[in-house]
């Protein structure tokens, strides 16, 4: 067995093609970025070694700190909004109701659509003058709450998180649903005989058994939220006045609009470290269900 499965040449045959491509086109750029983050450079004539100067500058940069906070807000917001909602829908569909396949297909649909289209549509929904949201509020008698949603610096970030939720709840639902479908139905039959309620079945059977998937899901949500770029760029470009700036939009702006490439690289490095930290953290949180 070990002779076949431990054969160095076979292993190389399977792993090397992917590893080489990955090393050249992903790892090398990462290394290059880390290196560049130590310079004050526009990648043209200016190239001045500043050590950790860029990182120190970032700590003092109010906009970056704000963007950082927005990302954390996004991570927490996505975790507490995505997961329970996705779980609610998954659990609802899982219980063999009519139209389950239909709901499942439709809910996944938004995650299939490109960011430009989603952003455009929701910009019109949030519009202050003829936006659907304001019209709806007026209809249900909450006209006093009407406003120019994306121009409100306190609400804009929240509005964007709602759209992200809209787009990806179905995606996470499908992942969780998949896990639920994989649970041995004998558990539920036994519970049925014991007369356990739907809620009891969920807390005692479903939830514990899908925990490993929730870990994966959490990792996807966290890394996704930290790297997030698309909708912010399309809907607000980080505005009004940096209110919805996130690290990736700020990094893009620094690199391509004002040519502070070293500074932008430092943002990229911080982003990567944050991702790793949060993955490690979620591994720890879900540890007991691992082994």
């Amino acid at each position: 067995m070990n002779k076949v499965m431990g054969n160095k040449r076979s292993i190389a045959f399977f792993v090397l093609p992917a590893l080489i491509i990955y090393a050249v086109f992903a790892l090398f750029p990462i290394a290059y970025n880390i290196y560049m983050s130590l310079f004050n450079t526009d990648l043209m004539a200016k190239k001045q070694f500043v050590g950790l100067g860029n990182y120190i500058g970032l700590l003092k940069d109010g906009t970056f700190v704000h963007a950082f906070r927005n990302n954390i807000f996004m991570v927490i917001g996505s975790l507490i909004a995505h997961m329970p909602l996705a779980m609610f829908f998954a659990n609802a569909i899982f219980k063999k109701i009519k139209g389950a396949a239909f709901f499942q297909t439709v809910f996944f649909l938004p995650s299939v659509i490109c960011g430009v289209a989603v952003g455009l549509t929701w910009t019109f929904i949030y519009n202050g003058n003829y936006g659907l949201l304001n019209a709806f509020l007026k209809m249900i008698g909450l006209g006093s709450l009407q406003q120019v949603w994306l121009a409100n610096k306190k609400l804009a970030m929240f509005c964007i998180i709602v759209v992200i939720m809209w787009q990806y709840v179905g995606y996470h639902m499908v992942i969780q649903l998949a896990a639920m479908r994989n649970i041995d139905s004998a558990y539920y039959e036994a519970a049925q005989i014991d007369g356990a309620s739907g809620w009891k079945q969920f807390t005692n059977i479903t939830f514990p058994l899908i925990k490993p998937i929730l870990k994966i899901d959490a990792v996807l949500i966290i890394t996704g939220s930290l790297k997030y770029y698309d909708l912010v760029a399309v809907m607000t470009s980080g505005g009004p006045n940096h209110a919805t700036e996130v690290m990736s939009t700020y990094m893009y702006y620094q690199a391509f609009n004002i040519l502070k490439y070293g500074y932008a690289s430092a943002i990229g490095v911080i982003l990567m470290i944050l991702c790793m930290l949060s993955v490690a953290l979620s591994n720890r949180v879900f540890k007991e269900s691992d082994e």
Binding site: A31, M44, K46, K153, N241, Y253, N257, I258, L259
Partner: protein
């Protein structure tokens, strides 16, 4: 194949690095890339020209990147110029244009510049934007070419070449000029017996009268992408309060962003907002939406650049086309009248990648020739940066009005985001905060703080 091998080794080297080996190899790797890159780009340049010459005679290709999208009317006019030049020129070169939409232009040019693969001729904005690339050693000094052709040099309007002059030498060639004007709807003005305002008080009177009659005075947009529309309005107010000395002072660093004139302009703008001079909810209105309001006669005025002419005098896209005229925004203090926000439009520069600067300059001369400048003006409403003989009969009435306005200006102040991309963008962001009703003093204080911390 050899290069691919090298790249692979480079990649693997860096993998080792990541895993915690020593550092220091990276510099070599990057240098190697650069030299390889130069070699390859030369190779590929030869390749393309060979491909092309299969059909015609041996022609050198000059690549050119322009700012334009399919929906920009003037793209057609630019293409005409390029085609005419390609059909017959003394240098035996072919210009290969690439139009890149505005939203991608900066990203793409930046990427090309820093990896040494910029096209031969590039579209650029004047002042701060081009300066970065000039300092980076990427742009050809055109001074000697201008000096060698006195007629060409003299054809540019005064104050134009200066904006692309760095260290005493000219690096960019402007092809058009522009300024922000207040477009207005003559039919609406007539209906309420309003005259074109010549003082700020009269302007307020016009707006107040319109409001009394339930007409929205001015269409304005202020989403993040259109932040410059708000900031150009505030800048215009500041011009009327303190003149172009304010702009020049901020540019030179002798005056501050939280100058009392700037604060006053911000407060005045907020006052106008509160009085209802702009459409309801304008803070969430996009640029094209604001324009649609004006085009359909739902607002009486619209503050935007002279480049909008072709969108406003064309009955196919603008219902009110026949009624539209314009005036220069009157100043708050009479002594600073006729100082508008305005600058160059569509400048081009030759990059150090260019193998045939002679031909590139020849092409720019061709572009700025009377004949082409006139064509762009008559057909696409682009005001030339060179002085040409005007044939008024070929001008649309709106173009004529804009040109009249333009001729009356005592000074122009470029948009702040052209003066300095970084600070100008922050100014745009600050303007949005002003539009949203935040404390003006605080906003400009923090802008000044930002400016100080970002200039060594």
């Amino acid at each position: 194949m050899r290069k691919i091998g090298e790249m692979l080794t480079a990649g693997i080297l860096c993998t080792g690095l990541l895993a915690g080996c020593g550092s220091g190899n990276v510099t070599n790797t990057t240098d190697m890339n650069a030299s390889d890159a130069a070699a390859t780009s030369a190779d590929s340049a030869v390749d393309t020209s060979v491909d092309d010459s299969a059909a015609s005679t041996e022609a050198q290709v000059l690549t050119m990147m322009l700012n334009g999208a399919a929906s920009d009317a003037y793209v057609e006019g630019y293409q005409k110029i390029i085609d005419a030049f390609n059909a017959d020129n003394e240098y035996g070169v072919v210009i290969e244009p690439e139009f890149v939409s505005n939203s991608d232009y900066k990203t793409k040019l930046t990427t090309m510049m820093v990896s040494d693969s910029e096209p031969d001729i590039i579209f650029t904005w004047e002042l701060g934007y081009l300066e970065n690339f000039v300092n980076g050693g990427k742009i050809v000094n055109l001074q000697e070419y201008l000096d060698a052709d006195a007629d060409w040099k003299a054809s540019f309007n005064s104050g134009t070449l200066e904006q692309e002059t760095y260290g005493g030498d000219v690096y960019g060639i402007p092809t058009a000029q522009c300024m922000a004007v207040m477009y207005y709807n003559k039919a609406i003005f007539d209906q309420y017996g309003l005259a074109v305002p010549t003082t700020y008080e009269e302007y307020c009177h016009v707006c107040d009268t319109l409001i009394e009659n339930n007409v929205t005075p001015v269409a304005l947009a202020s989403t993040a992408d259109d932040a410059w529309l708000v900031s150009q309005y505030i800048q215009q107010l500041s011009n009327g309060i303190a003149g172009n000395e304010l702009f020049e002072g901020i540019k030179a660093g002798t005056r501050v962003w939280n100058d009392s004139a700037m604060i006053e302009a911000g407060k005045l703008f907020q006052e106008e907002v509160n009085k209802g001079y702009f459409e309801q909810g304008f803070t969430g209105v996009s640029g094209s939406e604001a324009e649609a309001l004006f085009q359909t006669g739902q607002t009486a005025m619209y503050f935007n650049g002279s480049w909008e002419i072709s969108n406003l005098d064309n009955p196919d896209v603008c219902q009110e086309a026949a009624n539209i005229s314009c005036f220069a925004m009157p100043s708050v203090n009479a002594e600073y009248d006729q100082i508008s926000v305005g600058s160059l439009d569509n400048s081009y520069a030759v990059t150090t990648n260019c193998q045939n600067v002679e031909a590139a300059v020849g092409f720019l001369k061709f572009w700025t020739s009377d004949e082409n400048a006139a064509m762009l003006l008559y057909d696409y409403g682009r005001m030339p940066a060179t002085s040409i003989e005007l044939d008024e009969s070929k001008l649309s009435s709106l173009s004529k009005d804009v040109i009249t306005c333009f001729g009356e200006q005592n000074a122009l102040t470029p948009w702040f985001d052209r003066m300095n991309t970084d600070l100008g963008n922050e100014f745009n962001n600050s303007s949005i905060a002003v539009a949203n009703g935040d404390d003006v003093q605080e906003i400009f204080d923090s802008l000044q703080q930002y400016a100080e911390s970002n200039t060594q």
